[in-house]
């Protein structure tokens, strides 16, 4: 497996991208009416729905008087993977992912603004094709914005890996994840250049870390501008009934 060439002599990856290119990202805010905020985001063939409920009153026992509780649930449709999953959530992987998401989002939400409250963020992965965590974070960011929750800034996530042992790849697909080496997932706050979360799938040699990390962060930066554009467009559209559309421009 590992010897498969992820990068051709012509510098193209298996799907035709170059090493530093993201997959196509398309997204939409406000796809549902019942949640307070919702978003749909696809990054290549990874497709994710995010819904945000809240802030609402936190149940008594969990309530925290100084900051908001961020409650997440990561769930995957059973048909989202190549081979059918047996259950959508509750397995180890999903639970781990839930915790990771929680960590990441708490770093971005201005938690001190909502004491004794709770924000629910529900992620539903419709199609999984690599970088599930990243797509989830990016979708959650949009849904939180749609719900009008105060964020410090956009929180974006991107993966990076190594091809042929030394060339960093940005935003790896599922195929590259399984046939390549370790994959690094990074969530960052791109404007202030902070790293909110980082995880790797396997052992990774320290020598490679800086350049791979650098690539992942660049990816986050690019994703942020895509998300920002989407938010602006959405606002212009929503606000066009009133006079916002012109203001936003």
């Amino acid at each position: 497996m590992a010897n498969q060439d992820l990068l051709s002599d012509q510098g193209l990856r298996l799907d035709g991208r170059r090493a530093h290119e993201l997959r196509r990202i398309r997204c939409k805010l406000g796809v549902f009416s019942q949640p307070d905020g919702s978003a749909y985001l696809e990054q290549g063939n990874t497709k994710v729905l995010a819904a945000v409920y809240g802030p609402h009153q936190a149940p008594g026992k969990k309530s925290n008087h100084s900051e908001v509780i961020v409650n997440c649930q990561y769930s995957m449709a059973v048909f989202s993977t190549g081979e059918r999953k047996n259950r959508p959530r509750g397995d180890r992987k999903s639970q781990e992912m839930t915790i990771h998401l929680q960590q990441t989002l708490r770093a971005a939400i201005k938690t001190e603004l909502y004491p004794r409250s709770q924000i629910d963020v529900f992620i539903e992965v419709l199609q999984a094709d690599g970088g599930n965590y990243c797509a989830s974070v990016n979708a959650a960011t949009l849904a939180l914005i749609d719900a009008g929750i105060c964020l410090k800034e956009y929180v974006c996530a991107c993966t990076a890996s190594l091809a042929n042992g030394n060339v960093p790849l940005m935003d790896v697909s599922h195929l590259e994840e399984v046939s390549g080496g370790a994959t690094l997932s990074v969530a960052s706050l791109p404007s202030s250049n902070k790293i909110a979360f980082m995880e790797m799938s396997q052992r990774f040699h320290l020598d490679h870390l800086p350049k791979v990390l650098d690539h992942a962060l660049q990816g986050c930066q690019q994703i942020m501008s895509i998300l920002d554009k989407a938010v602006r467009e959405h606002l212009a559209l929503v606000g066009s009934a009133s006079d916002w559309g012109n203001i936003a421009k």
């Binding site: 590992a2 010897n3 012509q10 799907d15 035709g16 196509r24 063939n45 081979e83 030394n166 040699h205």
Partner: protein
């Protein structure tokens, strides 16, 4: 910039899955032509423009300059044509590249190499990801049709694209794009679509300036194979084979032709312990050594045994007939039979290019000739060439194209000539090619990795390394050795213990991971020693200078230092990088003299005596543990310093000092192995020598039994003991011969990565060591470099890097190392054989020899002096010259394995005297002839010569005799570096 297509693929993994992958189509892929004015400029990088603006118009078929677009089959079939520089300015479509890669990785590798050569002007165009050239598969279209369409689409696009940039050039002079395909139907469709298309044959023939290129065309026969005059039964179709293997009616395995009998071979089938025997031309059914074949087992009553006959295909193309084979097949019933089968189909051809010579067709003017490969396992090949006269005295390379049913020999085509026959360099080249030894010149890139001269040791270096310059360190090596990679010392410590140090050249200091030098060294894997030539693993500046631990100069070393008591028990082990200054670089002989000379009492002498004493203890311990002492005939040549022809041959002498150095190297290797395995349990590079299966020992046990000795093979220790006990007073060489036989029973020792094998399997059988590695010869073995890096990382002297700890990558590396080592070993042996031939040129010599095996029609003789093995044929009915009426008749006794003639009986291990001479009647193929001198058999043996060979004129030349340069000139590229270990772990 990106567009996207999703395409579906279903794969079968027990289940049928639908797989969806993204497929991005781009608009930034340029056409790579220098004339183009339309490709996105921002993307243009001068390196990417490889197609020249003025391609030559050499083809007589086109009056305008052209670029070629070859299709997949053209590349697969005619790869040899593409080796020629005359074929250039090609556009390689990614569709084609992928298909080639998929169909044949060997061709792909070659092709990729060709494409990479800059004077070829080959541009790889990624048509599959270009927005204008991507085509979607249509319903009902086969994958092949789709690819053909993709190729046509891309060709058309190119042609039109280039026209746009040439609007100001007259139409007749514009560059056009031509599709090169041998598929007539595809050509027709292409022409209808307005694409220029041509077949390879037409194109090559139209290159009037390169008429000889035609020789290299591979001939595809389209003749209908009529079964009327077919010599061979037809092969089953792939589907039938597939079906048969699935149902168990057929078996799959790799075919190995017999070296001794060209009408016999065996197939190694997984799941069957014994090799399946294949006998007779029809049963072999056109299989060539290495092919993966499908066989059908014969019913047990038709089973046979390997014939005891040695048979070579000596005929001069007798036409497409098969001679009588009854003789080979007639095997008497009482012999133990082995599973026998017939080959019914070929699953995968493993044809490669073969070195050999041309056997000219007697009919003058004919272009059809027979090619005789150097490798005896390979059948002769028919080729067509117009340059036979020129090639007949040359070594040439030929590739096999096909083997039709009606043809006795396969058809092939000429690839290239290597040089004149009998020329030393040509022969060496053949040897290196046949054994796949990389031996090209060092590339600029590799040389640029070398340190700049003058090389000085900086203060920083001194600080980082332990300074051992004051210690009395010396090295002991064979005479003439220039790549000294080890040095030793021993001194008494104030606390009464002994400090023993093994200092190994610090090659990993110079070869940094990931550099071009490192990659080249890891590819070469080992230094290859031929009799008169050394093919270095690292450039000479390192191997003979900066790394070599020469006497009197400061060098970097990696030291392994033990504190021992006087009984050679290790009390403490330390590893560190150091700077040493060897006090003296000695030969084994010099060292021995110092040890033996009681008047010498300087530091070095003391050190050597301590070492010698400890080594003896170590050796004793080792043998008690069950380490084997095996033997193989080892010889060295004395080579004329001017002509480089061998002048004299002598068997190697072993001195105490050889064994002394060997013991400490073993000890260092074991210590390091234990250390790195502890530090890197998942990714340490180790070496193991598997236990040979008991069946391997059968010939040895039989040979012992015939002589009245019981050889116990249940464990290494018993084997060693019973070998020690098998001594015959009247035949001092008997024991050595048994050990030679034992050596041939052994498995090959291999490198492996600790995480990939169970702990119990780390065992090294030959050395009786539970764990072993290679640490002591980094100048000539790449494995040692890896071990150095691991050790350095573990003691904090150097940093790790990702690949070093990558288990899978290293496993692949091990595969390469093992392969190269084996090949180096074979090449070494072949070189010895080659030089033996040279030595006997124009010479006849009588030598003592021993019968190694008794065969049904031959005796196999070993001549210890030359380490030579040869055959004396008995009862050869075909050879009329010798088969006179009344000639002696030999009777073969199957049970006792003896040949009897009159009252003379030949047993295995019997001493004989043979006459050796070189049969040069066939200039193209010299061979060494063995003739029996003693015991004398009327009408068979030759008369003893009057003159002794020693009076030969060559002796006069002895004053200019120089020792051959290589340190280890014989075929032992394995660790059995003679000075270090006698243990051969090689199975013949």
């Amino acid at each position: 910039m990106l567009t996207e297509r999703v395409f579906m693929r279903k794969t079968k993994r027990g289940n049928i899955l639908k797989i969806v992958r993204e497929h991005y189509l781009r608009d930034d892929i340029i056409c790579g032509s220098a004339i183009c004015k339309h490709c996105p400029v921002s993307m243009q990088n001068d390196d990417d423009i490889v197609l020249v603006a003025n391609p030559s118009a050499e083809s007589s078929l086109f009056k305008f300059p052209i670029y070629l677009v070859p299709d997949t089959n053209v590349i697969l079939d005619q790869i040899d044509i593409f080796e020629e520089d005359a074929i250039c300015n090609m556009i390689i479509l990614s569709t084609v590249q992928e298909e080639v890669k998929h169909r044949s990785s060997a061709v792909y590798k070659k092709f990729r190499d060709i494409v990479g050569r800059s004077p070829r002007h080959c541009y790889v165009f990624v048509n599959e990801h270009h927005k204008d050239t991507y085509v979607e598969r249509k319903p009902g279209e086969t994958a092949n049709d789709r690819n053909d369409r993709a190729i046509r689409t891309a060709t058309k696009w190119y042609d039109e694209h280039l026209q746009q940039s040439q609007l100001n050039i007259p139409k007749a002079k514009r560059i056009r794009v031509v599709l090169l395909t041998n598929d007539a139907k595809n050509r027709e469709i292409a022409q209808n679509e307005g694409i220029l298309a041509i077949s390879v044959d037409e194109y090559v023939k139209s290159l009037t300036e390169h008429p000889l290129l035609q020789d290299k065309l591979k001939h595809k026969t389209y003749e209908v194979e009529s079964s009327k005059n077919a010599l061979f039964p037809p092969h089953l179709s792939p589907a039938e084979i597939h079906e048969g293997i699935k149902s168990g009616a057929l078996l799959q395995g790799s075919f190995m032709a017999s070296r001794e009998n060209y009408l016999e071979g065996s197939v190694n089938v997984e799941g069957i312990e014994k090799f399946v025997l294949i006998q007779g031309r029809e049963s072999l059914n056109r299989a060539v050594d290495g092919d993966v074949v499908a066989i059908r087992l014969l019913p047990e009553d038709q089973w046979s045994a390997p014939s005891e006959i040695i048979l070579q295909d000596e005929e001069n193309d007798p036409g497409d007939v098969l001679e009588e084979e009854t003789e080979i097949l007639a095997v008497k019933a009482e012999v133990e039979k082995t599973p026998t089968g017939v080959i019914v189909g070929i699953i995968r051809r493993k044809w490669r290019q073969y070195c050999g010579i041309l056997q000219i067709n007697q009919v003058s003017g004919s272009t059809r000739h027979i090619f005789v490969p150097a490798e005896r396992k390979i059948p002769k090949v028919r080729i067509e060439t117009r340059q036979a006269e020129h090639l007949k005295m040359q070594r040439i390379v030929v590739a096999i194209d096909n083997w039709p049913r009606h043809s006795r020999y396969p058809n092939g085509h000429f690839v290239r000539a290597l040089g004149p026959l009998g020329d030393k360099d040509t022969e060496n080249e053949v040897l290196l090619l046949e054994h796949d030894v990389p031996h090209s010149k060092w590339s600029e890139e590799v040389l640029s990795c070398l340190p700049k001269l003058p090389w000085i040791i900086t203060n920083e270096d001194y600080e980082r390394r332990k300074d051992l310059r004051d210690i009395f360190i010396c090295s002991v090596d064979p005479p003439g050795c220039t790549d000294i990679d080890d040095a030793l010392h021993c001194r008494e410590l104030p606390n009464g213990r002994l400090e023993v140090g093994v200092h190994i050249a610090d090659v990993s200091h110079f070869i940094r991971p990931g550099t071009a030098l490192d990659k080249e060294a890891s590819l070469r894997a080992t230094t290859v020693y031929l009799v008169d030539k050394r093919i270095d693993m690292v450039p000479e500046l390192l191997s003979s200078n900066l790394c070599s631990l020469l006497g009197g100069v400061e060098r970097f070393a990696f030291s392994c230092v033990w504190e021992m008591d006087h009984n050679a028990n290790i009390l403490e082990t330390r590893y560190h990088k150091s700077v040493i200054k060897s006090k003296s670089a000695m030969t084994y002989e010099q060292a021995q003299l110092i040890i033996d000379d009681p008047t010498q009492n300087h530091e070095i002498a003391k050190s050597l005596r301590h070492l010698n004493r400890l080594a003896k203890i170590l050796k004793k311990k080792r043998i008690e543990n069950g380490a084997l002492i095996l033997a193989s005939p080892e010889i060295r040549f004395q080579v004329d310093s001017e002509t480089h022809d061998p002048i004299e041959v002598e068997a190697k002498k072993m001195r105490e000092t050889n064994s002394m150095v060997e013991e400490f190297m073993l000890l260092a290797n074991v210590s390091v192995a234990e250390h790195i395995e502890r530090e890197f349990p998942e990714c340490a590079m180790l070496r193991r020598h598997p236990n040979p299966p008991q069946t391997n020992f059968e010939p040895l046990i039989k040979a012992g039994e015939n002589q009245g000795f019981e050889i116990k093979t249940d464990c290494g220790k018993n084997l060693a003991l019973s070998l020690d006990a098998a001594i015959k007073e009247d035949n001092p060489y008997f024991n050595t011969m048994l050990r030679i036989l034992a050596t041939r029973c052994m498995m090959q020792a291999v490198y492996f990565i600790s995480g990939t094998v169970q702990n119990e399997e780390y065992f090294h059988y030959g050395l009786a060591a539970p764990i072993y590695t290679h640490f002591t010869s980094p100048i000539r073995r790449y494995a040692d470099i890896i071990v150095h890096r691991l050790l350095a990382a573990s003691i904090g002297a150097d940093s790790t890097y990702a690949e070093l700890l990558d288990k899978h990558r290293n496993s692949e590396l091990c595969n390469n190392l093992n392969y190269r080592n084996r090949m180096a070993q074979y090449a070494g042996r072949a070189s010895v054989a080659l030089n033996t031939h040279l030595f006997f040129r124009g010479k006849t010599q009588e030598e003592e020899g021993y019968v190694l095996f008794v065969r049904k029609n031959a005796l196999q003789i070993l001549v210890p002096k030359f380490g030579l093995e040869g055959t004396i044929y008995l009862n050869i009915p075909k050879d009329n010259s010798r088969h006179k009426p009344g000639a002696p008749v030999f009777v073969f006794n199957k049970d006792e394995h003896t040949q009897q003639c009159g009252n003379i009986i030949f047993h295995s291990f019997d001493p004989v005297v043979v006459r050796l001479s070189l049969d040069s009647t066939n200039v193209q193929r010299e061979k060494l002839v063995f003739e029996l001198v003693k015991p004398y058999i009327e009408g068979f043996s030759v008369e003893p010569m009057e003159l002794s060979v020693d009076d030969n004129d060559d002796q006069k030349a002895s004053d200019k005799v120089s020792e051959s340069t290589p340190k280890r000139p014989i075929g032992n590229a394995d660790e059995n570096k003679p000075k270090k270990k006698k243990n051969k772990k090689t199975k013949k």
